[in-house]
Assembly symmetry: C2
Homo-oligomer: 443 residues x 2
């Protein structure tokens, strides 16, 4: 069986770069495994194009391996960007109450609207998009990651895609899964328009050199660089999308972390965005809902495909057919987040993580590193020029017992950086700082 | 604006049967709307193939219209199949406790494994598949509907698909969305292999006449007919899939409603199924989790695509990339369902709804209708030969103020039937029975 598994892995890996039918040698290598396969169903070739595992499970795997090799190591994770602080009381209580209420006839509810509860849609619209977005343009979901994947299904398999480089890996991975790319060429995927964001361009892409695509994924404040686009930059971006007739998917998952008054918290502050932009957002990093699961996506009714048909109508069809609504218990939590008491608690959490970001940023600055982000976002982006990110990741894990995220995991232009997440208890952040200084402070 | 909307609707409807570029008349009709469209992005043509709205929102729309026309009507829903009874105490308490626990440092958790919590995967495997399925072959999710849609993304856009007719609309709709069909030909979609299930064939398809497809969707006990396949039938089905090298997606969402000892509760009871079958299941109809959202999908490691590569590995990639785990609060509820106390409560709920099904079935039988299902499933399938289902639906809504589901909504072979769901309070079921007898009892 072990042998068979090895052979199968060989077969799995092979289609990464070639079509099997052109490669008799692969056919020979796969013969044993093929004999074992009862199914005459071909693998979705787009899955064969994907690189290794999804980034964060891969990091978790390496962390486990390190822990096994060093059972006594007190590992601190500044890796995946996972919230650590307990839910604020008012918000946790609202969900506990909703759950207990389901045990009563008055409090019970079954299927809700797939688009989300009316009250929550109203509260999201009025809290985050007053005068900009109507309640029925807000679709509640189980999170942005899931919505991005559903958006790709709605867009279909004949679209060209641009994404910031570096960026949250889900934009590119789901593009590959839908068949909208070629294979990986060693640096990136053929067919993706990588919008390079580096210190040299102040983390805003050179739009004059950016090719027109159907869809543009843009995240601000950016994960992983922590850069928040200014009003002027977003005006350029919206103009670029409008001039090209491109649909902008604007990921605002970290918008409430913005301090800079010149950086809008939603794309709909920019004139004309409501005809070209979809915005995704999430309670994950606002209210510590990473494990609770709640997000939303705004699809303005003004969005029309080239044939004049409504994007909103297709998104509604997508959500009603492929989704069944976010959990009613969790939606009660979302609604609590948007009450005066809940908002206060939520901003309290955000400020706590922002303080962590400041501490981390200052630490790296003091040690003389080139460091970015950390002011309008919970991520600090640290440069290790000339060093492969995975090597830096491995070194920090080995020497400091700290998990970071290698920049190259976010795209080719992330090479030479690592991302440090500000999500952690204060004790852990201070201990991480101590270890960083001990190892890197003297360099 | 109203005018623009009308024009746009015209444009939306047009691509249902034609490619726009071949139809200058469509281009002319769309001109006004096209001028309004900033986007130069083409609509996903597969969405244009879909029929009207997804079935259940359409029923909800008609219900609302009826209520508006008859504000005093006390409408009873035997329509969507939505659970009505409060959650049992032990299960509700577990979720309330988990939610409250998130407000404490000890009880807080962030991102969990995308595949589900280890303890829940273990409990699902040992409770429902002892000796058949390993814990890491069970993937926890936010529900079967969502998993079916994700399965389609994993299968990709070059697959041929068979589905029972009638069947849960999501199999066909998601197949259309992925581009694996032609257009709707007035009866069904070109390219779908409809496996007709009627009283004439005892609701089991004639496999000798069924064309080979890559994927077979099969739901037992069946939604909407209520028919549960026997061991002998499932052996035929597994043999058919194995002989054809087809991948069987077995939807067992109602398995615990089975009374007939000759009907297996999982496809993995059938020898050889573990090399060809994926099984989806859900807590929705077991524990009243329709609004709470929790399901699971079993992907055995033995499943190999034709090239020998692992289906399990691709599903793992799918779930880690396009999903972020079911809510931690909700998973605590799922785990509670599988403890001795929770199992007792869950079976109590199921038996309650089964009694409802018996009451409905007996009522229709007494009135002389041809009625099926209702013994191994929470659905009663009532024949109105020669009458269009939507007309029967409208008549029952008009005369009885009762919402049912028109059989044709589940596929062409559902024409002439309506589905009555057994999900309702006992009072509502008895009142529905009274109204049915009043209107149809004398015929």
């Amino acid at each position: 069986m072990a042998l068979l598994t090895k052979q199968s892995v060989g077969c799995t890996a092979a289609p990464l770069r070639h079509k099997p039918q052109r490669l008799p040698s692969v056919a020979v290598r796969c013969a044993a495994a093929t004999e074992q396969s009862v199914l005459k169903v071909s693998r979705n070739e787009n899955f064969g194009k994907l690189q290794a595992g999804y980034l964060f499970p891969e990091i978790a795997r390496r962390r486990r391996a390190h822990q096994e090799a060093h059972p006594d190591a007190q590992i601190i994770s500044l890796g995946i960007g996972d919230t650590t602080e307990p839910l604020p009381q008012y918000i946790a209580d609202a969900m506990a109450k909703a759950a207990a209420g389901l045990g009563t006839r008055e409090g019970y509810s079954g299927y809700g609207a797939e688009q989300g509860q009316g009250a929550l849609r109203e509260a999201l619209a009025s809290t985050f998009y007053p005068g900009m977005v109507a309640a029925d343009e807000v679709f509640v979901s189980d999170g942005s990651k899931c919505d991005i994947s559903r958006l790709q299904v709605m867009f279909g398999a004949d679209k060209s895609i641009a994404a910031q480089d570096p960026s949250y890996p889900v934009y590119v991975d789901t593009t590959v899964m839908m068949g909208n790319t070629g294979t990986h060429n060693g640096t990136g995927f053929d067919g993706i328009e990588y919008m390079v964001c580096t210190p040299e361009n102040n983390f805003f892409p050179d739009l004059a050199k950016t090719k027109r695509t159907d869809i543009i994924f843009f995240c601000s404040p950016n994960n992983p660089t922590g850069a928040a686009a200014t009003r002027g930059q977003l005006k350029q971006l919206v103009k670029f999308a409008r001039d090209n007739g491109s649909l902008l998917v604007y990921d605002a998952a970290y918008a409430l972390y913005i301090s800079n008054p010149d950086c809008p918290k939603t794309i709909y502050e920019i004139e004309g965005a409501d005809e070209i932009a979809i915005e995704t957002c999430s309670f994950s990093k606002y209210a510590g809902f990473t494990g609770v699961r709640l997000g939303w996506t705004v699809v303005p009714k003004k969005l029309r495909y080239a044939d004049g048909s409504s994007v909103h109508a297709d998104w509604n069809r997508m959500m009603t057919t492929c989704f069944n609504g976010a959990s009613n218990i969790v939606q009660a939590g979302g609604l609590a987040c948007l009450q005066p008491e809940g908002l206060k608690e939520m901003y309290g959490l955000i400020n706590f993580y922002k303080e962590n970001a400041t501490i981390l940023k200052n630490t790296f600055q003091e040690m003389g590193f080139s460091v970015y982000g950390g002011e309008d976002a919970p991520y600090v982006w640290v440069g290790f020029p000339g060093k492969p990110s995975w090597d830096v990741f491995a070194e920090i894990l080995e020497k400091c017992n700290i998990v970071t995220t290698p920049g190259s995991g976010f795209g080719p232009a992330g090479e030479g950086f690592v991302r440090a997440s500000a999500f952690g208890s204060r004790d852990n952040i201070m201990e991480a700082v101590r270890r960083f200084k001990e190892v890197y402070g003297k360099q």
